[in-house]
Symmetry: C2
Subunit: 248 residues, 2 copies
């Protein structure tokens, strides 16, 4: 048996990983954790969460590019290929169960799906499974006291790579709009939020669960935060502000 499991390790807080994820990580012969080739953002969190629950020599770092930054560039394809070859080598060296840790959920805007495709192309006998993980959207909702959706409300989950025009249209049409990976577009995003009259119902989150965490209403953001927001920023706009006595 050769089983590759994409394990969602949540948004960064080592406690926001499932009991099943911990078990699968501990049972794996090898645990790969992506380490970002072009900066310290994001995937470093996967390693921190893995090391909080798995001790020992099974953990191996692989260089990896963030999903969606700049499309399927040659550099990113190279990084996926390198990671896939590392997984295949580990199977060839005798591993039967390999886990690949991903921040968030392995089926939602994760690089795991690309990796799994490449591994199966190189080694078709590999079975692929996933373990779901808590997403940044859910963590930000919890930390900001925001109800994401109630009753008949429809929620749109939106990667900013889909474009600013489409984002503004989503704000016009949807009860709840969650925008991912919007860091460098944040000034333009906040103008779209303002234009559609939804500033009071919009919260921002970055570096969730880390010492440098920023969570709060977009109306309260410092200018330097708006201009320097990290790639993995999340913006949630809800149907109306629903104060719950949360952390805001």
């Amino acid at each position: 048996m050769r089983l590759l499991t994409g394990v969602g390790v949540g948004p960064g807080d080592p406690e926001l990983v499932t009991v099943k994820a911990v078990r699968v990580l501990r049972e794996a012969d090898v645990v790969f954790v992506p380490v970002l080739a072009d900066g310290p953002e994001g995937p470093g969190r996967a390693e921190a969460t893995v090391r909080a629950h798995v001790d020992g020599d099974t953990v191996r770092a692989v260089p990896f590019a963030l999903s969606d930054r700049g499309g399927r560039s040659a550099e990113r394809l190279d990084a996926w290929d390198e990671a896939a070859r590392a997984v295949v080598s580990a199977f060839e060296e005798g591993a039967s169960r390999i886990a690949f840790a991903t921040i968030g959920d392995p089926n939602i805007y994760s690089t795991f799906s690309y990796l799994a495709q490449t591994v199966r192309t190189l080694m078709p006998s590999v079975d692929v499974a996933t373990v779901p993980g808590i997403t940044a959207m859910q963590d930000l909702a919890s930390r900001s006291g925001t109800v994401l959706a109630e009753g008949r409300e429809v929620l749109a989950l939106f990667p900013m790579t889909a474009g600013l025009d489409a984002y503004e249209q989503a704000l016009e049409a949807f009860d709840t709009v969650v925008a991912y990976k919007g860091g460098r577009f944040l000034p333009e995003m906040l103008r779209a939020v303002d234009k559609t009259g939804r500033t009071a119902e919009t919260v921002f989150g970055a570096a969730l669960g880390l010492p440098e965490e920023v969570v709060g209403p977009v109306a309260d953001l410092a200018p330097e935060t708006v201009d320097g927001a990290p790639y993995l920023s999340t913006v949630i706009t809800t149907a109306r502000r629903r104060e719950r006595g949360g952390a805001l």
Copy 2:
């Protein structure tokens, strides 16, 4: 301190609860679990997951109505009020930390937001927090080998209480459409999926993680499953079928 925490306990599999949820449930003076007034669906799962991780006398069942079935009917308002009064009584009896277990995530189509509002109306000194949980959408994606979203794809999360016409429009407009709580509308939903040419990219799930679980492509569903699907059914339509060697 009086703290009420809505704890997401995931979709049914007791392992799909976070490490943080387990800690908060164990540290609580009282853990309320909703027990459905009008049938065995759904909330029974919350109790099973709680009892898998918390032993002892802190667990109390409260009758509760499923969110969204029939709107804010008088009967459902009564059930929320009764649950809220039980929480307030427990605080008055000396509890300082109360957990309320909800299936899925407490900020996504959960009855917890209504409960928390009512508790704070009755007892304004109560602080409210939430712990996120794995949603049925994520569990079904994992069990069916379905990638929910990649790259620039936009995902719409859609409660069938929003209506069949709106569902068909969503299928026309979105890369990924996830429909919740569609059980009794399933025959009409499948016609809308067929009409928009997306049958091959659509999977169905019900009773996830339970012995009676049904997971698979909608094209393979037995007629009796289509006609008798439970309320808490989930239907996922993706941009294209992405075979990953999963369970399908």
